[in-house]
């Protein structure tokens, strides 16, 4: 029997038909729990590992569900024809899937055994030995680098960036197909200097892709739904022209492979 399929984990959503998180048409599995507390986080309900209640569209919604790998993979398999036709597959996201290694690695293994390609969206905030176990069954790693300055990183994300930067290098050296993604947040990292710093780092890693993801306000209502304050209240998304300026700064350093959006 394939016992690993009975491994349990905690997720809060499975989203079909995502075309911006790895190649092709993908299904994203959102795992619950994160070590960071980014102020702009658009999935605040993902941060705590606990099962929570959130008011959503005037209705009480339970966030978080314990499931087995088997249950998840059965659902993921339903969109197989779309993966085959588009080169898509399954993406693990969160929260931070590195916090549930047993479940997440079993899920990645199951996907590979069914012939589904895999991707992960991650902060890279975990011991590298843990990450290594993921890499065995991962085709694409989409890793966030939010800031090069440790203090600012701590202030806005709740953790130091030291481990993150170290792991980025190790993941690349391991031979993974790594893409660096930068959530561009007004008041945090949206100056040309800050973006350029990240571009220099990404370039030094030798990765092929650098994606700048412009801040959006999608998560704002969820904070209210959870009874929490939204710390970025009043911040407006950047204009396209402004983003273009940042992109040009990054492009100067990074060159081809740099783009706005995922």
């Amino acid at each position: 029997m394939q016992e690993y399929l009975d491994t349990r984990g905690r997720i809060f959503d499975i989203q079909k038909y995502s075309i911006h998180d790895g190649p092709g048409i993908r299904t994203i599995v959102f795992l619950k729990g994160c070590a960071f507390r980014c102020r702009w986080c658009c999935n605040p309900e993902s941060q705590s590992f606990k099962i929570e209640h959130m008011m959503f569209g005037g209705k009480d919604k339970v966030v978080g569900k314990d499931v087995t790998v088997r249950e998840v993979i059965e659902d993921v398999l339903k969109d197989m024809p779309y993966y085959v036709r588009s080169g898509g597959g399954m993406t693990l996201s969160g929260g931070e899937s590195l916090l549930q290694p047993e479940f997440a690695t079993a899920l990645l293994r199951a996907a590979h055994e069914y012939g589904i390609n895999t991707a992960i969206e991650t902060t890279g905030f975990a011991p590298f030995e843990t990450i290594e176990k993921y890499l065995e069954n991962l085709d694409y790693v989409l890793m966030d680098i939010k800031h090069m300055n440790e203090e600012k990183h701590k202030e806005f994300c709740g953790q130091s960036n030291k481990l993150v930067l170290e792991n980025a290098k190790k993941i690349k050296d391991w031979g993974a197909n790594l893409t660096i993604r930068v959530p561009v947040i007004p008041g945090f990292n949206n100056t040309k200097e800050e973006i350029s710093d990240i571009a220099v780092f990404a370039k030094s890693l030798g990765v092929k892709h650098l994606h700048l993801l412009p801040y959006h306000r999608m998560g704002e209502d969820k904070y209210a739904g959870l009874g929490r304050d939204y710390m970025l209240k009043g911040i407006k998304p950047m204009t396209n022209e402004y983003m273009q300026g940042l992109y040009e700064a990054a492009y100067k350093i990074f060159g081809d492979g740099c783009q706005i959006g995922g």
Binding site: K16, Y17, H20, D79, Y82
Partner: protein, 843 residues
């Protein structure tokens, strides 16, 4: 895009001018055809009907005013005014007589009509009393059928009021041999008959009618040649003068003779297409595989170096514009069901050859380009997709989709070909299928498909289960027992099947009655001359002259009925939350809700009129109070709270459209209740009934005539669109919704199924966006989906267009099996389109 092998061709400035001219004014009704028809009929009383039809056609074509519009290269207009329409009193006239003074101000598809033309029509109408197809059809229908129609169980309105249409003639043959060749063929057939043959009287009459009609078409083209020559002589602009002389040459040669150049082929095509719509008022006269039968002429000219790609494209664009020049006025109720001045002239590209090879050619791409250029609702542009369809073709189609014009519609060869074969069609012929009207596949030039034979509202029989056969206090159906006595879900479900079956039988009766009426009163020799095997058999298509004969009425409401039956099963028989009687009460009381604004307005008007007639004074404030009462309903707060709880419960149940196998396979069974029953019946032309599953846009007006349903749908609101999930109930995104739809039995619904999807434009951005979109369609088709079409326009745009229609005169959206100008649609239909779940790719 550089990576394409088929580079873009720029649009000629001529096309913009043609379009502007076309849309300058409101469409207009003209009376010339009706007058000429009546004159001819008066002179031919007592003669065989097929001869009378041919002589009338001839009289019309010899005398109807002709016009060449500014900048046209391809000529032939059915009316003087652009986008005008003629009148067809031989089918029905009462509705237009009643609407003469209101048709220019009605909401759906208004038409201007001059006082003079009103006078003329009023004068000729008395002649037609008792002579129309619709009158004969009613007299052929069984009383119980008339009752079912009166109570909106189904509506055969389209063929009841109009010609049948819904066919594709043999364009390729006329291109090749001209009408001269066709006349020779008919003559040869005539010569081979013996006067003593049993069918000689009828057959010879028909063949003579064919010859008269074909000659009339030639005469008509010659009139254009003469006109172009006269205009050319007077023309000051040397370039236009030259063009008019070329037009004159073309019209003097074709369609009488075989076409030899691409331009002649275009002119021939247009005369055929346009004249078919002068002969009868049927819509969905579909050009079919234009890229196939026109290709030899294009190829020859290109090889000879006598045409440039640019000029060929300009000619195709001209045809695209011309297809929008044809128009049709329908009665107010039908206009809502087919809103948007649509004629459903479906034109197909891509697919397979009869040998089973890929058929995509350069013209297929140029068809896409033409729709890209013109951005108009016509032609209803369809593409055939199979496993061997080139990726480039898919991406080009996706690019067109991205413009938001609602075109093309995508069809799956891998389902449609076997579906047609299951109806007795040979493989090679099935591979040559094209689409008629909205979504209906058929073998071109060989089929009389009656593809739009009625709308059957699958929700109404469920209402009849709850009422035990009664509607509005009257017994109109069989009695399937009191619901209080139904002890199991199976009993309840059986009752629904019985109500379905009984009403399907009435539907068959209605269609067959109409079939006979058309055969006896409006046989069509011109159309028949271009459909096999009419000439050989010596029969009009109406008498069964076509090789393949079908009647295809479509059922709709599959999503509502699935969710409704599941709700009854779970809440009444499994959870025992309420009894069937309590459910019935909830439905009768519309779940504690008031009426829709439209219904409330009607009800208020009635009450006010009543009060006024009793001599009472009604103040504005009182009117408002009455209206508010209807809108809010009469339920107490307590009752409302109870009903809202019930509705919440219903909404929390699993729903069709979310890729839940148990539900989706049940939906398949529900669909089969309609499709499998229907295929047991036969029509008078020797063919069978075959089901379609789609409502065109009738889900809105017919939903208005439907009470609340157990799926939580409120009374008088739209029924679900096509085979798609109920509005807003597909919450798992576009792949899950498509997976659900793919689980229906599309092959048995061989008259077509229709699946509308709405996407945000951002989903198709960049080459990756296009590729993912193409992959999405392919994967749906891998799972045996049959048809898919898209509205790619943002919700914000549509809301703004509702507010400022003046800024969006040209905004085209996909309505059902066709595209229409958004601002010409009724408010409720606009709302329905806005509410169709917008399938975003990322949150």
């Amino acid at each position: 895009m550089a990576e394409f092998q088929t580079p873009d061709i720029l649009m000629s400035p001529r096309i913009k001018k043609l379009i502007d001219n076309l849309f300058e004014k409101m469409p207009e009704i003209e009376s010339d055809r009706a007058v000429l028809l009546t004159e001819s009929y008066m002179q031919t009383e007592g003669q065989p009907i097929v001869r009378r039809r041919a002589l009338a056609f001839k009289h019309i074509l010899e005398n109807i005013p002709i016009t060449i519009r500014d900048n046209e290269l391809i000529v032939g207009s059915a009316t003087k005014a652009p986008r005008g329409c003629q009148v067809f009193p031989e089918y029905s006239y009462e509705w237009l007589e009643a609407e003469l003074d209101t048709i220019s101000t009605r909401i759906a598809d208004p038409f201007y009509i001059s006082e003079e033309n009103k006078q003329i029509l009023r004068k000729i109408y008395p002649y037609w009393k008792g002579k129309t197809t619709s009158e004969l059809a009613s007299s052929y229908m069984a009383p119980e059928t008339l009752k079912a129609i009166e109570h909106n169980i189904f509506t055969p309105g389209n063929y009841f009021y109009n010609g049948i249409g819904h066919f594709t003639v043999n364009y390729g043959k006329i291109l090749k041999i001209g009408y001269k060749g066709l006349i020779e063929e008919a003559q040869a057939e005539l010569n081979s008959c013996n006067v003593y043959d049993p069918d000689y009287p009828k057959k010879s009459e028909f063949l003579n009618a064919v010859i008269i009609s074909a000659n009339a078409a030639i005469t008509y083209a010659r009139r254009y040649a003469q006109l172009a020559l006269e205009m050319g002589k007077k023309e000051k602009d040397t370039k236009r003068r030259e063009e008019l002389f070329i037009i004159a040459q073309n019209c003097a040669k074709v369609p009488e003779n075989p076409a030899e150049t691409f331009m002649e082929a275009c002119q021939t095509f247009w005369f055929i297409q346009m004249l078919l719509q002068v002969e009868s008022s049927g819509h969905s006269i579909s050009p079919g595989r234009f890229d196939q039968y026109m290709y030899p002429y294009y190829k020859a000219d290109i090889e000879k170096g006598t045409i440039t790609r640019e000029f060929a494209q300009e000619l195709i664009d001209c045809i695209w514009v011309k297809l929008n020049d044809l128009n049709k006025a329908r009665d107010a109720a039908s206009a809502e069901g087919f809103a948007g001045y649509s004629l459903f002239q479906n034109l197909c590209a891509g697919g397979q050859t009869k040998e089973g090879r890929d058929a995509t050619n350069e013209l297929s791409y140029m068809c896409i380009q033409a729709s890209m250029h013109t951005q108009l609702p016509a032609p209803s542009f369809s593409v055939r997709i199979w496993n061997g369809t080139p990726n480039e073709f898919m991406l080009r189609c996706a690019e067109l989709t991205r413009t938001g014009v609602g075109l093309p519609a995508y069809y799956n060869d891998e389902v449609i070909i076997p579906a047609l074969m299951s109806r007795g069609i040979k493989l090679e012929e099935a591979r040559e299928y094209n689409i008629i009207g909205c979504v209906e596949p058929q073998v071109p030039a060989k089929t009389d498909g009656w593809h739009d034979a009625a709308f059957f509202n699958m929700c109404r029989p469920l209402e009849l289960v709850f009422s035990n056969g009664y509607d509005k206090g009257e017994l109109i159906s069989i009695q399937t027992g009191k619901i209080e006595d139904m002890k199991t879900f199976d009993e309840f479900f059986e009752a629904y099947k019985k109500q379905m079956k009984y009403n399907i039988q009435l539907l068959v009766n209605a269609d067959n009655a109409i079939d006979y009426a058309h055969r006896e009163r409006c046989p069509l020799p011109f159309q028949s001359s271009m459909i096999e095997d009419c000439i050989k058999r010596g029969k009009t298509i109406q008498e069964g002259g076509a090789v393949y004969n079908f009647t295809g009425p479509q059922g709709f409401g599959i999503a509502n009925m699935t969710d409704a039956l599941i709700a009854v099963k779970k809440l009444v028989f499994e959870e025992k939350l309420l009894t069937l009687s309590e459910y019935k009460k909830a439905l009768d009381e519309n779940f504690g809700h008031g009426m829709t604004a439209k219904e409330a307005t009607k009800a208020t008007q009635k009450v006010v009129a009543d009060l006024v007639s009793k001599g009472k004074n009604v103040s504005e404030a009182q009117i408002e109070d009455i209206f508010k009462m209807f809108i809010d309903g009469i339920a107490t707060e307590e009752e409302k709270a109870k009903y809202n709880k019930l509705l919440d419960k219903i909404h929390s149940l699993p729903k069709y459209g979310n890729d839940i196998p148990e539900i989706d396979y049940f939906a398949r069974d529900v669909g089969n209740i309609y499709t499998k029953e229907l295929e047991k019946y036969r029509n008078p032309r020797g063919g069978i009934f075959q089901a379609g599953l789609y409502p065109v846009s009738a889900n809105v007006p017919l939903g208005e005539q439907t009470g609340a349903t157990p799926d939580g749908r409120l009374a008088n609101t739209p029924v679900a669109d096509g085979v798609g999930p109920c509005s807003g109930s597909d919450v798992c995104g576009p792949t899950s919704a498509a997976n659900s739809v793919a689980k229906l039995d599309h092959e048995i619904a061989s008259n077509g199924t229709l699946y509308n999807q709405k996407f945000h434009p951002s989903a198709l951005s960049g080459l990756t966006g296009l590729s993912d979109f193409a992959a999405y369609i392919r994967a749906f088709f891998d799972q045996k989906g049959m048809h898919m079409q898209f509205n790619v326009v943002s919700r914000e745009t549509l809301l703004d267009a509702q507010k400022h229609p003046e800024n969006y005169k040209n905004l085209v959206v996909r309505v059902a099996g066709y595209s229409a100008l958004f601002t010409t649609l009724s408010k409720s239909l606009q709302d329905d389109i806005i509410n169709r779940t917008e399938q975003a790719f990322n949150r």
